[in-house]
């Protein structure tokens, strides 16, 4: 494939190159006399003509023009005498001019002919040469091109195409597709080579076919055996049941019962279903999940609607809790603080080995020391609660929730202020 591209590339370069050469040639080749150039020269000579000949300045101008038009110019008077000649102009008489194939024009002045002007193409010789060269280039290009194309066609037919066929074949074999045979063509160089390849494919194919057959028969065997087991098993059960009724000797009866049991077990093993009964749900269910401790920030800020929490620091960790219940706990604790203390609240936390400990502290009057251990009891209300709304169930419920989560809730009394310590477990208790 690569060599093909290379050859094409070389050929393309060659074609382009010779094309450029030819084009360049063509430019030079276009070298015929132009009517307007001739007219310009003749008219210029006529305009500068006066009987005495051509002046210096004018002759320089004419020479310049002649050079730009690539012409040789000679001016003759009526007697045939050469009055003026540009450089490189050999012909100086009408005879020479005719022999050389030059253009002869009349020199007119005021409507009367006063002489002749000979105009000669200086490029004639080189032009012919160039035509020859360009023709040669065309011929050789075409010839080489045809040869190249023919050679490439030959290569393609004899080498590349069979190789590609072989390549496809090898890919088929590699992919496990052994069905497509390799078409043989004894004409090409790889004839014999190809044949052995195809034999190899055939043998591979046969081997695989055999293996497949062996596998299939094995599967059939297992299927029939499993079907066959069911029938004797049914007979064993039926017979052992019959024996249980008919037999009276206890020792034998025991063994028969054992047989029956095992048979049932085998049967059970085949269709085993488990039913698990769900535990009765408690009315106050605590659903413990793992949560990021960051949820406490949310919980506190939603419950602290009066914005009394002054300092808050929650350690980053994962805790096991029921978010809903935890929210109720904090709601309760903070509401209590609002109700009884109505001061700023500090919340600090630290991580112990198994728990996240959160201390919620206010700076109010606290409770009486006697009340402290009783606070978490059902319907217990502290002495300071007199005259305040409430049923005495808040801390009890909070305490219950925390215990259910595997944590705890402890109340502490200080000289100034009251503190609730909430411990939330870090990991699930199993």
């Amino acid at each position: 494939m690569k060599s093909k591209r290379l050859i094409l590339l070389i050929f393309a370069i060659y074609v382009i190159f010779s094309g450029i050469l030819l084009l360049q040639n063509n430019k030079v080749v276009d070298n015929h006399f132009k009517v307007i150039d001739v007219n310009d020269l003749v008219r210029t000579i006529e305009e500068s003509w006066d009987k005495a000949g051509i002046g210096d300045a004018e002759s320089r101008h004419i020479t310049e023009l002649a050079v730009t038009y690539n012409m040789g110019v000679a001016v003759l008077d009526l007697s045939g005498m050469c009055l003026y000649k540009t450089k490189g102009m050999k012909q100086s008489s009408i005879k020479e001019a005719i022999e050389h194939g030059d253009t002869i024009m009349d020199l007119c002045n005021d409507g009367s002919i006063e002489g002749k002007i000979i105009l000669s193409n200086l490029n004639m010789e080189s032009q012919m040469q160039q035509t020859y060269i360009s023709r040669m280039i065309i011929y050789s290009t075409t010839l080489v091109g045809i040869c190249l194309i023919l050679y490439m066609l030959y290569l393609d037919r004899k080498v590349i195409a069979p190789f590609q066929k072989l390549n496809r074949f090898a890919r088929n074999v590699a992919a496990g597709n052994l069905d497509t045979p390799l078409e043989m063509d004894r004409e090409n160089i790889f004839g014999a080579f190809t044949e052995s390849f195809d034999i190899m494919r055939e043998q591979l194919y046969q081997a695989r076919e055999k293996e497949r057959e062996a596998n299939e028969s094995k599967k059939e065997l297992v299927a029939s055996l499993s079907h066959d087991i069911k029938t004797p098993l049914a007979s064993i059960r039926a017979m052992s049941e019959l024996l249980e009724i008919t037999l009276h000797e206890s020792k034998q009866l025991e063994k028969v019962q054992a047989i029956q049991k095992k048979a049932i077990q085998i049967e059970q093993l085949t269709n085993n279903l488990f039913h698990s009964t769900l535990e009765e749900l408690q009315t106050l269910k605590v659903n413990v999940k793992e949560e990021e401790s960051l949820i406490l920030d949310d919980i506190i800020s939603t419950t602290d609607y009066r914005h009394l929490v002054a300092n808050k620091h929650i350690c980053e960790c994962i805790i096991c809790c029921d978010r809903l219940r935890l929210e109720q706990v904090f709601d309760n604790v903070i509401a209590n603080s609002y109700k009884y203390a109505n001061t700023k609240i500090d919340i600090v936390s630290r991580v112990t080995e198994y728990t996240l400990e959160i201390r919620v502290r206010d700076y109010g009057q606290g409770v009486s020391t006697d009340d402290v251990p009783l606070l978490t009891r059902k319907f217990y209300r502290g002495k300071n609660a007199e005259g305040k709304m409430g049923a005495g169930i808040g801390l009890y419920m909070s305490h219950y929730f925390m215990e259910q989560m595997g944590g705890s809730l402890i109340a502490n009394n200080y000289e100034v202020g009251f503190e609730v310590v909430i411990e939330i477990p870090l990991t699930m208790i199993r």
Binding site: I36, N39, D40
Partner: protein
């Protein structure tokens, strides 16, 4: 098949969700292309037709002959009436006056032809666009063309003739299909009965003229009939006369639109090519990505064509939809364009929905995208299921390790960027083509703007015959004192007589430009051959050259009155004003035809044109008798250029916006693909400690060499070919040769700006690298 269609819809929808941005980008590019193509087609297909429709609607005379009343006799009328092919004929009185008027803020010297608005006529009726009842002593209806040139109803239209001021009040704008613009070198003004009579009474009777309008049975014969009439009148007229015909009117009135249409079509071609490349690039990429899925589909029994269909389906649907939306969009842009064209063409172009143009646009774009994507996706058919399942033919791919890091110099970031560059040839090709094309168009816009708005010399030279600073009309050219005085002045670059006369070529009256020595002129308007230098030489305009199949060196017969002489053709010249229907002769040459010829118009080229007005005043006071009148060409040109400057700046802005948009869209598609394909490598590089910034720079830099090469190639290409390209676009105008300046600093700045913009866009788009994290390596 119904089930299959459903399946394909699901697959396509899934693909679309995955690559939303890229599909949308593809769609945007396509509908820009469709909008431009549709605009171009609508203009090309309908504009000329709408001119003809209006022509027919107003029963406009296919040939209109105007001659002065002094030359007119009933005989002509009868002769014209008997010319074969004439359907109907109508004679009207009118007034033809030389003079000048203001347009776009500058004075124009051009004859006006006044008609009686209240004549009862059947031929050459007028369409009234707008009118208002204003009582004034000299009411006048003027061409719709003037409405776009700064006139409003109620404004005064002032016509200066022979130092007399004629003041009219504009009471309405009309569509006149013949003398509605300046292109016939006559501007039509229509006066109600009262004011027409008033004007007629106030002027010399030598200005009275007769207008003979004729309609033809076959409109395509208009030129032949016109030349027969001219033939008949030649040599018998003592004063000016003219003969205008349908083909010519149509050509001059519709050419601006034709150029606009060409530019739109050319531009849309570039964008369509870009979108084809994009679809191929994307499909190649899709195939690589979806290789395994295709294997599964093949294994399930899908046929090759079905998988190809599912691959290209999205692109085909987008092509169809986007081109339809594009067509719709183009009708939003059309009114703006219509306004612009109306200003140039002098008639109201109303375009309704053109179904055929829309159909062609949609079909061409959809078909090209289907073809391109099918050809790209065709290789799927050769893919074998098992090979595809293994993730494609990844046989030993011994690529080279480009730029081994231990031996290559340079910062590690740039080395990685270069490695990226060599990793994907297709991407580079797409980018190269787009950048090349956009660089070309950007420089096109820059060149147009520069040569029209900043240095309009080349543009003026291309559309005018010669542009002196001042033109003096001299009483007697034999008296050389004025000429000598002017040529001695140091501020004068050159001075020469430049006249024009009417001669006859091929039975048609055309304008001949005449001067002593063309080599003294600063600019040659010959695009082939040379200017005449001797009394038997002639240069002919491209219109004559094309119509008569003349070659340089041939002889051509030129007539004047009853004289006829042969001339040798030395060159072809361009002329926008005369639409190439003119010739150049030397003074000696015209003397051969008309020995009474007198030079009258003296063109002065000044070095410093800042005080032309002062110079004119100065000369006038010195030679009050010699200088009959003058034209301040500098001022006139400035006014005339304003329209072109506006068009050029609008075009430049549109092209620059589209260029930047195109670059951004292409980079978006490329970078998205590159990042997607390179996700793993980017992840690894992030893992070993490359920062997002470094990777963004690397990815952006990896595109820059291609952008750079593209910009450079585009710049060089445009530098070399720009003038030829513009000539092709402007050919309709009669421009055959152009010497637009392409300032190298402009090219370099454009190139640099494009590179910088590309880099910034690329860097911005690479922002999504931030989202790739090293962590994805393990989750994959």
């Amino acid at each position: 098949m119904v089930i299959n269609m459903n399946k394909f819809r699901i697959i396509t929808a899934a693909k679309f969700r995955k690559n939303k941005g890229q599909y949308i980008t593809f769609a945007i590019i396509l509908f820009i292309a469709a909008a431009m193509l549709n605009l171009g087609l609508v203009i090309q297909m309908n504009f000329k037709q709408s001119f003809t429709d209006k022509w027919i609607e107003y029963n406009t005379a296919d040939v209109t002959t105007i001659m002065m009343e002094q030359d007119y006799s009933e005989d002509y009328y009868n002769k014209i009436k008997n010319i074969k092919g004439i359907d109907s004929i109508e004679k009207r009185d009118c007034i033809l006056m030389e003079g000048s008027y203001r347009l776009n803020g500058s004075e124009f010297s051009m004859p006006n032809v006044f008609y009686n608005f209240d004549d009862t006529i059947n031929i050459s009726k007028l369409g009234i666009i707008e009118q208002k009842d204003i009582t004034s002593d000299m009411p006048a209806y003027v061409s719709y063309y003037l409405k776009h040139s700064g006139y409003k109803i109620g404004d005064a239209y002032v016509f200066n003739s022979n130092n007399t001021e004629y003041r009219f009040t504009i009471v309405g704008f009309v569509e006149d299909m013949i003398f509605g613009t300046q292109s016939l070198y006559k501007l039509g003004i229509y006066l109600p009965n009262e004011s027409f009579k008033q004007l007629k009474d106030s002027i010399d009777s030598s200005n009275y003229a007769v207008s003979i309008g004729t309609t033809l049975t076959d409109r395509s014969q208009s030129k032949e009939v016109a030349s027969r009439i001219t033939d008949m009148l030649t040599g018998k007229m003592t004063a000016t006369y003219s003969c205008s015909y349908f083909d010519y009117c149509k050509q001059v009135r519709t050419m601006t639109a034709s150029v606009g249409g060409m530019i739109f079509i050319a531009f849309s071609c570039i964008i369509v090519i870009v979108s084809i490349l994009i679809s191929q690039f994307r499909i190649n990429n899709d195939i690589e990505e979806e290789m395994q899925n295709m294997g599964v589909m093949k294994a399930l029994g899908y046929k090759g064509n079905q998988i190809i269909f599912s691959t290209i389906f999205a692109y085909v649907v987008i092509a169809g939809l986007a081109s339809m939306i594009g067509v719709g969009l183009s009708y939003v842009a059309l009114p703006v364009l219509q306004q612009g064209f109306d200003a140039q063409t002098g008639f109201e172009w109303i375009q309704s929905f053109d179904f055929i143009a829309a159909l062609i646009t949609v079909v061409i774009i959809t078909f090209l995208i289907i073809l391109a994507s099918y050809l790209t996706a065709r290789k799927i058919r050769k893919l074998q299921a098992i090979v595809a399942l293994r993730g494609g033919v990844k046989t030993h791919n011994f690529r080279r390790n480009y730029f081994p890091m231990d031996h290559s110099r340079g910062n590690v970031n740039y080395l990685l960027a270069i490695k990226d560059l060599f990793a994907n040839g297709k991407k580079n090709f797409l980018l190269l083509v787009v950048i090349m094309a956009t660089a070309f168009t950007a420089i096109f816009a820059g060149t147009m703007y520069y040569n029209i708005a900043i240095k309009p010399q080349a543009f003026i030279e291309a559309i005018c015959e010669t542009v002196p600073s001042v033109s003096f009309f001299v009483a007697d050219s034999e008296d050389t004192s004025l000429f000598d005085e002017i040529s001695k002045d140091k501020n004068v670059k050159s001075v020469l007589y430049y006249d024009s006369a009417k001669v006859i070529i091929n039975q048609e009256e055309i304008r001949a430009f005449i001067t002593d020595d063309y080599s003294k002129m600063d600019y040659s308007i010959c695009y082939e051959g040379r200017e005449p230098a001797h009394n038997n030489e002639i240069a002919i305009g491209n219109f004559i050259a094309d119509s008569g199949k003349y070659k340089i060196g041939d002889s051509i017969s030129v007539g004047y009155g009853s004289n006829k002489e042969d001339f040798i053709i030395t060159g072809f010249m361009q002329s926008v004003n005369e639409q190439g229907n003119c010739i150049e002769l030397t003074t000696d040459g015209i003397m051969r035809l008309n020995d009474q010829f007198k030079k009258t118009e003296l063109n002065v080229y000044l070095n410093d044109e800042s005080d032309t007005e002062g110079y004119i005043k100065d000369m006038q006071s010195k030679y009050p008798n010699q200088i009959l009148s003058f034209v301040d060409v500098v001022e006139t040109t400035e006014g005339a250029m304003q329209v072109f400057v506006n068009i050029a700046s609008i075009m430049a802005i549109i092209i620059i916006i589209i260029t930047i948009l195109l670059i951004a869209l292409i980079l978006f598609i490329l970078i998205k693909t590159v990042i997607h394909n390179n996700k793993m490598n980017l992840g690894i590089l992030k893992a070993v400690g490359y920062t997002t910034r470094q990777l963004r720079l690397q990815t952006s830099w990896s595109l820059m060499p291609v952008v750079g090469i593209g910009v450079i190639i585009g710049a060089i290409l445009s530098y070399i070919t720009m003038n030829n390209v513009i000539v092709i676009l402007f050919r309709v105008l009669g421009v055959m040769k152009l010497g637009f300046l392409i300032p190298i600093p402009m090219v370099i700045i454009t190139a640099i700006v494009m590179m910088v913009i590309s880099f910034l866009i690329a860097f911005g788009l690479c922002g999504r690298i931030r989202k790739i994290s090293a962590y994805e390596l393990i989750s994959e």
